[in-house]
C-alpha cells in the first residue's frame, strides 16, 4: 500500500522518524567496499561494508541522527496542529490536531532523551593516535558504534509507536502501537547492562508490563466480542445504544484500564516503576516519567472519554477512577517522603502526579461536567502532560549530569550542588518548586487548572445556606473531595521537594570538582528552566493554552 501525497504530507512526522530508523541502520554500515564486475577487472564501489568511512562510523553519529530526526518530527507535528483536518487514513489512523499535539509532546520528550543519552552513554571516537593495534581499535570503535545505534534505534521506535498511537482511530491499532513503544522501552530500561540493577530493572519492568498488556489485550478481546468492531466510532455507537451497562463491556474497559494504569504508573500497578526508574539511567527514566506516562494517559482518554465517555450514556468508571486517584497520589507522596534515592523519589513523585491527573480524569466520568468543563478538564490534563516534559524531564537531566560523574543514586550526591554549579542547582530548584506546584511556575498553572476543573464540575452541588463547613461538605458532591485531596497531597509533597533544594544549597559538597562540561545537556537544562517559568506566567502560557484549545476541540 502506498500513501498518496496528501496522506504522506499528513504523516510527515512519522515518515521522518521512519527515515531516521532506516538511516540509523544504513549509515554506520557505509564503507569503501567494492565489487568486481564479473569478467572484468573493474571494481565498482557499492558503499556497503568494508572499511567504514570515518564520518559515518563515528560513534556519535547515531545520536546526532536520532536527535535531529526527532527534533524535525517535533517541529513538523507542532506546525501541523492547527492545520490538521481529521484526515482518515486506511481506517485506522485519523490525523487530528489533538493527535498532532500529543506527537509533538512525545517527540519533544524523546528528542531531549536522545540528546541526553549522547552524553550519558559515552561514545569513544576512534582516532589514529589510539591505534596501538589498528584492528583492535577499529573493532572496538565499531562495537561502540553498534551500541549507540541500538540505543537510538530503540528511542526512534518508541517515538514511532507513541506517535502512531496518538493517531490511531482503532482500538486494535492503538494497542499494537502501544506495544511497539512498550517493547522498545522495556529494552531501553535494561539497556545499561553493565550494572546489576540495570538488568534486574529491565526484567522486572518487562514482566510486569507484559502481564499488564496481556490483561489489556484480553479486555480488548471482550470488547470485540461485545461490539463486533474495534473502531472507535462504532464502539461509541454500541456504547451509547447500550441501555444499562453490559458486563462484557464493563469488564473489557476495566481490564484495559489495568494495561493503561501500568503505563501511567497508577497505584496499585505502579510497583515496578520505582525499581525501573532507579535501575535505569536518568534520561530513560525521564522518558518513562514523561513520554511514556503521556502515552498511557492518551490511551486512557481515547478509551474512557473517546467511547465510554460522559456523553455516551452509561458511565461506569468515574467513582472507581476517583478512588484509584486518591490512593495513587497519597501512596506516591508517602513513599517519596522516605526515599533516599533521588531517582526513586522522582519515580514516586511521578506516581503522585499520575494521581492528580487521574483525579481530573475521574471528574470527567462523574457525569456532572458540561461540555465546556469537560474540555477544560482535558486541557488541564494534557497541559500538565506537556509541561511535565519541561520540569520532570529537566530534573532527570540534572541527574544525568550527576550520573555522568558516577553518582546519582543517593541524595547525598546532590549535596552542595549550589556551590559546585549555581546555575544547575538553581534550575533543579525551579524544577522541584514546579513539581510541588508553587506559583507562578507552570507546575502551579497545570495543577490549578485541574483543581479548577474539579471545582467547576461540582460547583452546583454544595448547599449555599449550610451554616457550617461540615454540613456544607456533606451536601457537596464527593468528587469535590478530589480537589481537597490534591491540595493536601501537594502540601505533603512540599517536604520532599524542598528537601532537595535544602541539601543542594546548604550541605557540604562531597567533592569540589566542577560538574562535567556537557554543554548540550546544560543548555537543555537551562532552556527547560526558562520555559518552566514562561509557560507558567505571561503570554507564552497563553499561547500554549490557545494551541491546546484548538487541539482539544478536535479530540
Amino acid at each position: 500500500m502506498i500513501l498518496s501525497l496528501d496522506e504522506s504530507q499528513a504523516l510527515a512526522p512519522e515518515l521522518v522518524i521512519v527515515a531516521g530508523i532506516i538511516l540509523a541502520i544504513i549509515v554506520p554500515n557505509l564503507g569503501d567496499s567494492r565489487v568486481r564486475l564479473p569478467l572484468t577487472s573493474v571494481r565498482v564501489p557499492i558503499l556497503w561494508g568494508g572499511r567504514r568511512f570515518e564520518l559515518t562510523s563515528d560513534p556519535r553519529a547515531p545520536g546526532v541522527l536520532s536527535a535531529t530526526a526527532l527534533a524535525i518530527a517535533c517541529l513538523l507535528s507542532g506546525s501541523a496542529i492547527e492545520s490538521a483536518d481529521g484526515m482518515s487514513i486506511s481506517g485506522v489512523i485519523q490525523v487530528t490536531g489533538f493527535s498532532r499535539f500529543m506527537s509533538m509532546i512525545f517527540t519533544a520528550a524523546l528528542a531531549i532523551t536522545a540528546i541526553a543519552s549522547i552524553y550519558r552513554i559515552p561514545s569513544t571516537r576512534f582516532t589514529p593516535e589510539d591505534m596501538v593495534d589498528p584492528d583492535d581499535s577499529i573493532e572496538s570503535s565499531l562495537m561502540d558504534n553498534r551500541r549507540q545505534v541500538d540505543l537510538h534505534l530503540l528511542l526512534l521506535m518508541v517515538a514511532l509507536g507513541m506517535s502512531l498511537m496518538a493517531l490511531s482511530s482503532d482500538l486494535f491499532f492503538l494497542i499494537v502501537c502501544l506495544e511497539l513503544a512498550s517493547m522498545a522501552s522495556y529494552v531501553l530500561v535494561g539497556f545499561h547492562k553493565e550494572t546489576e540493577v540495570g538488568g534486574e530493572a529491565g526484567a522486572k519492568y518487562f514482566i510486569v508490563g507484559s502481564i499488564a498488556s496481556a490483561t489489556g489485550i484480553y479486555g480488548m478481546s471482550l470488547l470485540y466480542i461485545w461490539s463486533g468492531s474495534l473502531d472507535f466510532d462504532s464502539l461509541a455507537e454500541s456504547w451509547s445504544s447500550m441501555g444499562e451497562l453490559d458486563p462484557l463491556a464493563g469488564i473489557g474497559v476495566g481490564l484495559m484500564l489495568v494495561a493503561f494504569g501500568f503505563k501511567v504508573s497508577a497505584a496499585p500497578f505502579h510497583l515496578a516503576a520505582p525499581d525501573a526508574y532507579s535501575g535505569t539511567n536518568a534520561p530513560i527514566a525521564g522518558m518513562l516519567a514523561t513520554a511514556s506516562k503521556a502515552m498511557g494517559f492518551v490511551a486512557m482518554m481515547r478509551v474512557l472519554v473517546g467511547f465510554a465517555g460522559p456523553n455516551d450514556g452509561v458511565i461506569a468508571w468515574g467513582l472507581a477512577l476517583a478512588i484509584l486517584a486518591v490512593i495513587t497520589m497519597t501512596w506516591g507522596n508517602l513513599a517519596a517522603l522516605s526515599s533516599e534515592n533521588p531517582k526513586r523519589m522522582l519515580a514516586y513523585s511521578s506516581v503522585a502526579h499520575a494521581g492528580y491527573m487521574l483525579a481530573a480524569l475521574a471528574a470527567l466520568g462523574s457525569g456532572l461536567a458540561d461540555s465546556d468543563t469537560q474540555d477544560m478538564l482535558q486541557m488541564a490534563i494534557v497541559f500538565h502532560l506537556a509541561v511535565l516534559v519541561l520540569f520532570k524531564l529537566g530534573a532527570f537531566l540534572v541527574l544525568t549530569l550527576i550520573e555522568i560523574e558516577g553518582g546519582g543514586n543517593k541524595i547525598s550526591d546532590l549535596h552542595g550542588l549550589a556551590r559546585r554549579d549555581p546555575i544547575i542547582a538553581t534550575s533543579m530548584f525551579v524544577f522541584m518548586l514546579s513539581l510541588a506546584g508553587i506559583p507562578p511556575l507552570s507546575g502551579f498553572l497545570s495543577k490549578f487548572l485541574m483543581i479548577n476543573g474539579l471545582i467547576t464540575t461540582t460547583s452546583g452541588t454544595g448547599a449555599l445556606d449550610a451554616d457550617g463547613v461540615i454540613p456544607w461538605l456533606q451536601s457537596v458532591d464527593p468528587f469535590f473531595l478530589l480537589a481537597i485531596a490534591i491540595v493536601l497531597n501537594s502540601a505533603l509533597s512540599l517536604f520532599y521537594y524542598l528537601r532537595i533544594g535544602l541539601v543542594m544549597f546548604f550541605e557540604k559538597p562531597g567533592s569540589d570538582s566542577p560538574l562535567p562540561p556537557a554543554l548540550g545537556l546544560r543548555a537543555l537544562v537551562f532552556v527547560s528552566m526558562i520555559l518552566t517559568v514562561l509557560f507558567g506566567i505571561g503570554p507564552a502560557s497563553q499561547w500554549l493554552l490557545a494551541l491546546l484549545e484548538t487541539a482539544i476541540a478536535s479530540f
Binding site: M376, L449, N452, G462, A466, P471, I537, Q542
Partner: protein
C-alpha cells in the same frame, strides 16, 4: 506602556537589578566579574537611594498630583487601569495601586533598604549581600503595591527567599536552625493562607478581570467590592474558615503569640541589615494583609472574632513584655519587644474605632522606624563589643558615646516617650481601647509600664552604671582591647532613623492625617454595615 508606571518601577527595578547582580558574576569572565564584585554595593545603594527619592516624590505629589486625603475608599493612587494580563487563562493581572494603608509601608521599605545597606556596609561577600537586599526591596514593595491576590501571594513568598539566605549565610552560630525554623513556620502558614485565597478565588463572580478558562479572578479590588455588595462567600461557616486560614497566615508573619517562636531565633541569628528589615517591614506585612484582605473582605467574621483578636493581642503584649523583663540577650529583648508591639496593633484593630485603626496604622509605621534603630544599635554593639549579653558590660556611655546616644533614643522611642513617634500610636490605641472596652484599658496600659521597666533597667545597666574606666566592667569578649565607637556609616544610618523618630513624634500629622481619613472611611465603608447586621441579630 505597561510596566513603566512609578509603582511598577519601584517594584521591578530593584527586583530585576538585584537578580541581575546576583547572576552576572557567575556568567561573566573571571576578571570582569572580580572587578564588578567590589562595585556591586555602590550600585545597590545608589539604586535604592534613587528609588527612595522616587517614592518620596510620589508622596509629595510631584508625580501624579496626588491628594492623599481624598482618595476615596476602594480606589487607589496610581492604580493600573486596563487589565494587564499575566495569566489570562486563570485571571491573573498586573494590578498595582497604593493608598494610605500601603503607602507609608512602601515609603518605609524604600527608606530602610539604603539605611540597612549603610549600617552593614562592610560585610563579607558584599556583592551577594547587597544584591540580595535589592531583591528583598522589590519583593517587599511588591507585597504592598499589588492588588491582585496571586501576585500578592507570589511576592509574599518571594520575600522569604532573600531573608532565608541572609540568615542562613550571614547569620550567627545557630543560623541553620534559625533560618530553617523561620522558613518552615512562615511557609506553612502562607500555604494555609493560599488555600484560603483559592476558596475566595472560586467564589468570585464574572468581571473584566476574569480568566478566559476559569471565569474567576484574583483581583482584590473586585473581590472587596463583591464582598461589600453581596458577600463573597455565601456560606457563613466557610467564610469563617477562610478568615481563620488567612489569620493563620498573617498572624504568623506578624507574629502573634502562639506562633511567634520563630521570631526571636531569626532575629538573634540574622545579620543586622536582615534584622532591621525583618522587624521594620516584614512583620508589618502580616498586619497589612490582615487589614487589606481579611478585615476588608470578611467584616462579619472579623467582628465575630473580635474576642479572639483581643485575646491574641493581649497575649502577645503581655507575654512579650514579661519575657523581655527576664532577657539577658540584647537582640532577643528587642525581638520580644517587637512581639509586644505587634500585639498592640491587633488591639488597635480589635477596637473597631477609627482612631484605633489609625493608631494601629501609625504603630506599624512608627515601629518600622524605631525597631530598625534598635536592631542597628544591637548589631553595632555586637560588632564592637563582640557580645550581646546585657549584664556583661557597664557604662558604654563612657566608651562609645554615640552608640549610647542612639541606644537611648531608640529605647525611649520604643517605650513610648512623648514627642517620639511611638507615643502617638500608643496613645491613639489606648484611647480607642477605652472607647470600646472601657476600664479594661488598664490591662494594656499597665503592660506598657512593664515595657518602660525593662528598657529602663537595661539602660541603667548598660549605659550608665559605673562609667569609671578603672572600675567599669568590659566584656571578656573584648580580650582587653579598648572598645570603639560606631563607625561613620553606622552613625549616619542611625542618625537618620533617630531624626525620623523625633520628626514623626513632633509632626505625626505627616502620615497621621491620611491614615485617620483612611480609617474613618474604611470603617464606614466595610464595617458599619456588618456591625448593624450583627446588632440586628437576636
Amino acid at each position: 506602556m505597561t510596566f513603566t508606571d512609578p509603582l511598577s518601577i519601584i517594584t521591578l527595578v530593584p527586583l530585576l537589578s538585584g537578580l541581575a547582580l546576583l547572576i552576572l558574576p557567575n556568567i561573566l569572565p573571571q576578571h570582569i566579574s572580580q572587578r564588578m564584585q567590589s562595585s556591586v554595593r555602590n550600585v545597590a545603594i545608589g539604586l535604592s537611594t534613587a528609588i527612595f527619592a522616587l517614592t518620596t516624590l510620589i508622596f509629595l505629589g510631584s508625580i501624579g498630583q496626588i491628594d492623599w486625603l481624598s482618595i476615596g475608599m476602594g480606589s487607589f493612587v496610581l492604580e493600573t487601569e486596563d487589565p494587564v494580563w499575566l495569566i489570562e487563562s486563570i485571571g491573573v493581572t498586573w494590578h498595582l495601586g497604593a493608598d494610605a494603608l500601603s503607602f507609608p509601608m512602601i515609603w518605609l521599605t524604600t527608606l530602610l533598604i539604603p539605611i540597612s545597606m549603610l549600617v552593614q556596609w562592610d560585610v563579607e561577600r558584599s556583592h551577594r549581600f547587597h544584591a540580595l537586599l535589592l531583591v528583598m526591596e522589590g519583593a517587599l514593595v511588591g507585597v504592598f503595591v499589588s492588588l491582585d491576590l496571586f501576585v500578592f501571594y507570589v511576592f509574599w513568598e518571594l520575600t522569604l527567599v532573600p531573608m532565608f539566605f541572609l540568615i542562613m549565610i550571614w547569620g550567627g552560630e545557630d543560623r541553620k536552625y534559625a533560618s530553617m525554623k523561620f522558613f518552615i513556620y512562615t511557609f506553612t502558614a502562607s500555604v494555609l493562607m493560599l488555600v484560603g485565597i483559592l476558596v475566595m478565588y472560586f467564589n468570585t463572580a464574572d468581571s473584566m478581570f476574569s480568566g478566559s478558562l476559569t471565569g474567576h479572578h484574583f483581583n482584590l479590588v473586585e473581590m472587596t467590592e463583591q464582598a461589600r455588595i453581596g458577600g463573597l462567600i455565601a456560606s457563613e461557616g466557610l467564610r469563617h474558615l477562610v478568615w481563620l486560614l488567612l489569620l493563620i497566615g498573617f498572624a504568623t508573619k506578624m507574629p502573634s503569640v502562639p506562633v511567634h517562636t520563630w521570631l526571636p531565633d531569626a532575629h538573634v541569628q540574622a545579620p543586622t541589615a536582615g534584622s532591621m528589615l525583618l522587624a521594620g517591614v516584614m512583620l508589618k506585612m502580616g498586619a497589612y494583609g490582615f487589614l487589606r484582605v481579611a478585615v476588608a473582605i470578611f467584616p462579619e467574621s472579623t467582628l465575630t472574632f473580635v474576642p479572639l483578636l483581643v485575646f491574641l493581642g493581649m497575649a502577645s503584649l503581655v507575654y512579650g513584655a514579661v519575657v523581655c523583663l527576664g532577657q539577658t540577650n540584647l537582640k532577643r529583648m528587642v525581638a520580644y519587644s517587637s512581639v509586644s508591639h505587634m500585639g498592640l496593633i491587633f488591639l488597635g484593630i480589635a477596637t473597631m474605632q477609627p482612631i484605633g485603626f489609625a493608631g494601629a496604622l501609625f504603630m506599624m509605621f512608627a515601629h518600622g522606624i524605631i525597631s530598625p534603630l534598635l536592631f542597628a544599635v544591637a548589631g553595632s554593639f555586637k560588632h564592637h563589643y563582640h557580645t550581646l549579653e546585657i549584664g556583661s558590660m557597664r557604662g558604654i556611655a563612657h566608651h562609645s558615646p554615640f552608640l549610647a546616644g542612639h541606644m537611648m533614643l531608640g529605647w525611649m522611642g520604643s517605650l513610648g516617650l512623648p514627642l517620639l513617634a511611638g507615643f502617638v500610636a500608643e496613645v491613639a490605641i489606648m484611647i480607642a481601647f477605652w472607647m470600646t472596652f472601657g476600664w479594661w484599658v488598664l490591662l494594656p496600659a499597665i503592660t506598657l509600664i512593664f515595657t518602660a521597666l525593662y528598657y529602663l533597667t537595661s539602660m541603667q545597666k548598660i549605659i550608665f552604671e559605673s562609667n569609671d574606666p578603672h572600675q567599669g566592667i568590659l566584656p571578656d569578649t573584648l580580650h582587653g582591647e579598648d572598645p570603639r565607637d560606631v563607625t561613620w556609616h553606622e552613625n549616619v544610618g542611625m542618625f537618620i532613623l533617630g531624626a525620623l523618630t523625633i520628626l514623626f513624634g513632633i509632626m505625626p500629622f505627616i502620615f497621621w492625617d491620611m491614615m485617620s481619613v483612611w480609617s474613618t472611611e474604611f470603617i464606614e465603608t466595610y464595617l458599619i454595615h456588618a456591625m448593624n447586621a450583627l446588632e440586628a441579630m437576636p
